[in-house]
Amino acid sequence: MRKSLISFILSLGLVPLGALAAPVLKVGVTLHPYYSWTTNVVGSLPGIEVRPILPEEIDAGDYQPRPEDIKKLADLDAIVINGIGHDDFILPMIKASGNKKIVIIRPNAETPQMRSIHGTAVNSHTFISFTNAIQQTYAIEKALAKLRPELAAGLQKNAADYARRLRTIKAQAATQLAQAKVTRVVTVHDGYGYLLQEFGLEVAGVVQPAHGLTPSATELEAMVKLLKREKIKVVFSEESFPPALLKVLQDEAGVKVYIISHIASGAYAPDKFEKEMQKNADTMVRALVKDP
């Protein structure tokens, strides 16, 4: 049965014979979105293994390298990394693993990068975005096709299918967000700039003074003043921001707080990015169209 299935697939010309004979291409990823994008590019094509390096429950921002994770890097052929500040730990880990043949795939290499709200660094959260996800999915597809030319057509088709699905979610959200009654918001986390820009929304301020840092009482007071002065009514927060601090914003400035996922932890899954971005889109529609 299995033999006849393989013969059938080969007869369709979808999988070249060489792909079945080649050794498995082992591709690591550092962040959850990269796992979703890479597994969707690979799809059911044979001979490519996608391997997350970080434990699923740990946000890359809180991660400390562990020996067992360095071992996962030792036999990789390639790895997809952020490379602009979200996974700075990975290059020393690769060096420690002794893997000198590994190909580094940098989907951010051609991604337009915004500045962080605070400071002069680029905003490394390029992955919380539909547009960037599509662009970076194609970047991963092209990098994998270079490593497995015999699978190029299949990889390209899978990437295009995935791009189409992401674009559908975005288009449906855009149709609703075109009616937004609120178009200026404050975010707790500086990671939502790319996503909000896609829907023509403006970030009036960011609560965290830097990525992962809790604001001081003075900074929180300044934010309350900004919210009142600018008449901002919606704050988008991340899941892990202290509720006590959010309560200050709610009580003092009368804002409503909504949670936007930055897809940083939880079980690795091919559909994780689509599901969480759909949820984010629904949250934005509720916050900016339905609730006001």
Binding site: A109, E110, T120, A145, A152, E198
Partner: protein, 202 residues
Amino acid sequence: MEIKPPSARREAANVLRMAAVILIATWIYLANTAVPRAGLAAGQGLIAYQKLFRNLEPREQRMFRALREGLLEAENVRSASGSWPAPAALAGQGIPPFAADPIASREKYTWTFHQEGPLVNYLGLPAAAHLPAFLLSIQEPTPGATPDTAPNDEQHHRLANGDVLHVAVWMHGEGAKLSDVLYGQPESTGWTQLLAGSEGSQ
């Protein structure tokens, strides 16, 4: 041998001289460190007609991002079929910026396609006079030319058959005054080339 008594005036002059030396040294240090950073942020190393993504207005950034996405999809069609898709075909698949954009419904653009030999243009002219025009320019390899060995980057895209395209996104501040024609050398007709200028490319 005469030994001069200590002079308060000379001592004060020495202190002032040392203070001046410290001030000048500090100024030189700051000039050598702070100024280059500011220059990079503003796009040091760019040619006069180029501008970095990070220095664009949010509305322009949004269009730039959409154009980069549209370019990838157009390249996919070019790779598969050998010819470039018309803007209407891309719009029909919901591909930005060619598809109708409900978010920017007041900022309507008309997209046209032009091709002359190896030069390809996707030109977006605005309906409103205050909006800029946008242009996606693509140069295909000249037939018979030596294969381009440039590595893939923002301005060099390799098709599935190995052909290397030279691609660029352009913006023109006086969009409403422009003619709907092919722009072979956009820099000579007032266009500004927009660059992602991304970090993390190596």
